[in-house]
């Protein structure tokens, strides 16, 4: 949770006398239609302060669409999105297309979010595992560096909610573990909520609090191990992947918790069968 200087009067939304709404963003019964097809069909989702929620699902499952609805970049055709008043969001899109005719250094890219001095920016870069690349042109960054720079820009505004769309693409295996550790630390230190999209399940599952499995609708939801044991998940992603997940969670979660997977179904509202056409 955030810390306050005692000498300053505490005002505004963080007034401890009025407990802050723990729900950062939520969607209820979200429907999105495109080209006569339901991309999203009555999806419920919620991210609370201090939790890491991972959105998984095959290609075309509507993961990015759901995130864009939650961010307010798209309007739903049905249902309702609620963001906590004054919510600051840090967002890293899946890919960053930059116009080559626009010369942009890393420093200028970062300070588009807000003004910041060099020392602050360097500390931020160090945090996401980058050296002093402030003077480098954005067009000269590798895929992994680009994702780290995007994460740095998202963190610059000290967000209450981090939304990361495929943050691991272009990052090598060691870098992925590092980035996940970093996301975990940010959650611990700031109390921010984190919503991650991924179809790269291995590390995601090991580090996440709740998993939401999407295929146009919510197939299953719950804690990683519960979801991994869900037959719907196994059908969608294959038994082998479910085994991988179980392996990662091994030791954290005792074996005799089979009843949890029924809870998972309840948490997800009314889970429908996923189509078996996985990617």
């Amino acid at each position: 949770m955030r810390r306050y200087k005692l000498t300053k009067p505490v005002t505004g939304k963080h007034n401890p006398a009025q407990p802050v709404d723990p729900v950062l963003v939520s969607g209820r019964g979200l429907v999105l239609r495109r080209g006569g097809r339901d991309v999203l069909d009555r999806v419920d989702v919620e991210v609370r302060a201090g939790e890491i929620v991972t959105l998984i699902g095959p290609n075309g499952a509507g993961k990015t669409s759901l995130v864009r609805l939650l961010l307010g970049l798209l309007r739903p055709d049905g249902g309702e999105v609620r963001r906590r008043a004054g919510l600051k969001i840090g967002y890293t899109p899946q890919s960053l297309h930059l116009e080559p005719s626009l010369p942009l250094t890393v420093r200028r890219f970062l300070t588009l979010a807000m003004a910041a001095d060099r020392r602050h920016l360097l500390a931020l870069l160090a945090r996401v595992g980058l050296d002093d690349v402030l003077g480098r042109p954005m067009s000269g960054l590798s895929g992994g560096e680009l994702h780290r720079v995007m994460l740095a820009r998202a963190l610059l505004r000290e967000p209450d909610l981090l939304v990361l769309d495929e943050p691991l693409s272009g990052v090598d295996i060691n870098g992925q573990a590092e980035l996940y550790a970093l996301i975990g630390r940010i959650r611990e230190e700031t109390g921010a909520g984190v919503l991650i999209i991924s179809h790269d399940l291995h590390l995601v599952m090991a580090r996440t609090d709740r998993v939401l499995c999407l295929d146009g609708h919510v197939c299953c939801a719950g804690r990683p191990l519960e979801v991994a044991r869900d037959p719907v998940f196994q059908r969608l992603f294959g038994q082998r992947l479910a085994d991988v997940v179980a392996l990662y969670r091994h030791g954290e979660d005792p074996h005799h918790h089979d009843e949890h997977h029924h809870h998972a179904a309840i948490e997800a509202g009314e889970p429908q069968e996923c189509s078996t056409t996985s990617s």
Partner: protein, 263 residues
């Protein structure tokens, strides 16, 4: 001193080049070069209707460029067709409509060349004041909204998530463009105003490492083209408008030689 027609032409040209530099950078970054042409053609429709209805062109030209700009923003948000197709329809449609209306007026002898290239050497004091006012307005508004305008241009989604009103910024930029084109085409002609938007900014790209530097260099290159073009007009009796465009294109070619590798 200010009744010297050459000095007035030079100052008005500098004003336009200063306004067109930063706006031109946005035109290049946002791939709106064709928008300039379309707005200019809408201005021609404004000329035609001004003559037809006996209204002052100082009003009808901006009225039509602004109207078309708003129409384009609507179409861009709702439409199925790609933007360049819509621009093509509107550009040629309004140009043709303007010419048809002009043909109805037998008593008016219309010289299309003068609207393509304008008559930069026939600028009055009032025209000069208009150019200066427009430049001041563009400078103030772009200065005030520089960061949100730039952020929206770099990545609209990130800008929106960070709290920037993207639609509003798009409107600000398009209206500024419509205004500069309207004023510019009245003073220096369609071809010159679009050239001053696109060519200096294109030339500045290879020399600049930051967006701010690119905008500033575009303004400077535009000023240099004005100076060189008018000098050529005086020394060798070249037509002033085309001479400025040729000078700008020459400067662009020079940057290709100076900085062969894009950064």
């Amino acid at each position: 001193m200010l009744d010297d027609f050459l000095l007035r032409a030079f100052l008005a040209g500098l004003c336009l080049a200063l306004a067109a530099g930063p706006l031109g950078a946005f035109v290049v970054w946002r791939r709106m070069a064709y928008l300039g042409e379309t707005l200019a053609n809408a201005g021609l429709l404004g000329v035609a209707l001004g003559l037809f209805l006996h209204l002052p062109m100082t009003l009808t030209i901006p009225a039509f460029t602004v109207l078309l700009a708003m129409l384009l923003l609507l179409v861009e948000r709702r439409g199925v067709l790609p933007l360049d197709t819509v621009l093509g329809i509107l550009a040629h449609g309004s140009l043709a409509l303007g010419l048809v209306i002009l043909a109805f007026m037998e008593q008016v002898r219309f010289d299309l060349m003068s609207y393509l290239f304008g008559d930069v050497l026939a600028i009055s004091r009032a025209d000069l004041a208009l150019a200066a006012g427009t430049t001041a307005l563009v400078a103030v508004v772009t200065g005030l909204f520089w960061r949100p305008l730039l952020s929206m241009t770099v990545h609209a989604d990130l800008a929106a998530v960070e709290g920037i009103r993207v639609e509003r910024m798009r409107l600000v930029l398009t209206l500024l463009l419509a205004l500069v084109i309207a004023v510019g085409m009245r003073l220096v002609g369609i071809l010159l105003v679009v050239s001053l938007l696109v060519i200096p900014a294109g030339a500045a790209r290879r020399l600049a490492r930051t967006p701010e530097a690119m905008a500033a260099m575009a303004a400077a290159i535009g000023c240099a083209a004005i100076a060189a073009g008018l000098a050529g007009s005086v020394l060798w009796d070249l037509p002033a408008g085309p001479a400025v465009v040729v000078a700008a294109a020459g400067l662009f070619a020079a940057t290709l030689a100076l900085a062969p590798r894009a950064r």
